[in-house]
Each structure stands twice: as C-alpha cells, then as structure tokens.
C-alpha cells in the first residue's frame, strides 16, 4: 500500500531563517506531487506541483520554492522566511494520468515569529 510521510509536524522559525519541509511517498512510482498551504480560516491553496523529477510548476509567486530531487521526494524551501509564510502546509500525491484521487500527508504547522 501507498503511504505519504511529511515532516516535521510542527516548526517554529524566526523571520529571515531558512526553511526545508520534506515529503516522501512510499509504495508507488512516478506520482504527481503537490504542496498546498492552508492559512487560518481558509481553504487550501496550491503552491507547487510536480509531474516528475526536476519538474516543478509554481501556481503562486512567493517567497517559497520547491524541488523534486528524487521520484518520490518533494521538498518545500525558503531562503528567508517572512511572517506571512506562517500556516499549515500539506503535501499530497496522486497517480498520474487516469487517476484522480489525491492523498494527503499529515501536514506541517509552520509558525514564523
């Protein structure tokens, strides 16, 4: 069976510090991978998605970047965090063409102080 791991679960970082959130998927190959952000009281906003190694598409211009160094690894990064980067970050995956259900990780709560 497939599982998705996301860490850390919570993170408190000062403004201006770097960020690295990691997401890995087990039990499948060549998944589509997604990073979403959920601000307080709001729905999920797509940040990045990837259909393959090294292929990253950005939906919202911002202070964040994403990378996919391996097939089942998706990393969300920032060189310098802003207060507005605080939120709940969710990684998700689905199979490629033909499958449409997305499965989510447990999320990371990021607080930038």
């Amino acid at each position: 069976s497939q599982t998705i791991h996301q860490w850390p679960a919570t993170l408190v970082q000062p403004v201006g510090s770097p960020l690295s959130l990691e997401c890995t998927v087990e039990g499948t190959s060549n998944p589509n991978l997604y990073w979403y952000r959920q601000a307080a009281g709001r729905g999920l906003q797509l940040l990045f998605y990837s259909v393959g190694i090294g292929q990253i598409s950005s939906e919202v211009p911002q202070n964040l970047s994403a990378s996919r160094p391996q097939d089942r690894q998706f990393i969300l990064s920032s060189k310098k965090l802003l207060l507005s980067d605080s939120g709940f970050y969710l990684c998700a995956w689905n199979w490629g063409r033909g499958k449409n259900i997305q499965y989510f990780g447990a999320g990371t709560r990021l607080s930038v102080l």
């Binding site: 797509l46 998605y49 939906e59 990780g105």
Partner: protein, 116 residues
C-alpha cells in the same frame, strides 16, 4: 478560472440526525471530478467521497452521499446518522478531467459540529 464556493462557514447537527453541507462551483468544463474532504482536528485531510461529472448517479459511501446537480453546478454532501467523530472541517474540491497534473481547487470549508 474554476472556483468552488461553500456558503456555510459553520454547521451544527445533533448526533444521529442528518445534515447537508452545500457546495457550488463554477467551470466551463463538461468533464471534471468533485470531492468532499474531511479535516478533523488532527488536520489530516481525508477523502470522504468522489463524484465524476459524467456520471448521473449520485455517489454514496456508507453514511455519506452527495446530491450532484450538474446543470446547477451544485454538489452537496449529506451525512446521515451523524456521529461525534464526524465533527470536522469539510472541504469541497474540484479537479478538471484529464491533463498530466491534477491539482484540486478547494472551497473555504464548512466547520461541522456534532452535539451529543
């Protein structure tokens, strides 16, 4: 651009009763998918039910069912025999059909409380 609207920020239901959560969406596509996700206090997003737009029959998963009205672009979720564990945020989501990427477009959610 596609949008998803959930007009009920909060709902409340008595245990064992039935509740319906509303969702409307806007799209020019004829084929697409619609989903309801549940987010309990643990914040994990859990798929509740899925509907393919080309299917006329409403999807059902145990106590959860949908009322899909394609012409009205409406996709409501009915929870029957509500249980305390149903208390959560519920998100309606849209995904277009086909394409190599399949990001979801979410509504802002409805917070459901279940009273014992």
């Amino acid at each position: 651009a596609q949008t998803v609207t959930q007009s009920q920020p909060e709902m409340s239901v008595q245990e064992a009763e039935t509740v319906t959560l509303s969702c409307t969406y806007d799209t020019s596509e004829s084929d697409y998918y619609l989903f309801w996700y549940k987010q309990p206090p643990s914040r994990q997003m859990i798929l509740v039910i899925r509907q393919e737009a080309y299917k006329q029959q409403n999807a059902t998963e145990n106590r959860f069912s949908v009322n899909f009205q394609k012409a009205a672009k409406s996709f409501s979720l009915k929870i029957s025999d509500s249980q305390l564990g149903d208390a959560a945020m519920y998100f309606c989501a849209y995904r277009k059909y086909g394409g190599s990427q399949g990001n979801l477009i979410f509504g802002k959610g409805t917070k459901l409380s279940v009273k014992p």
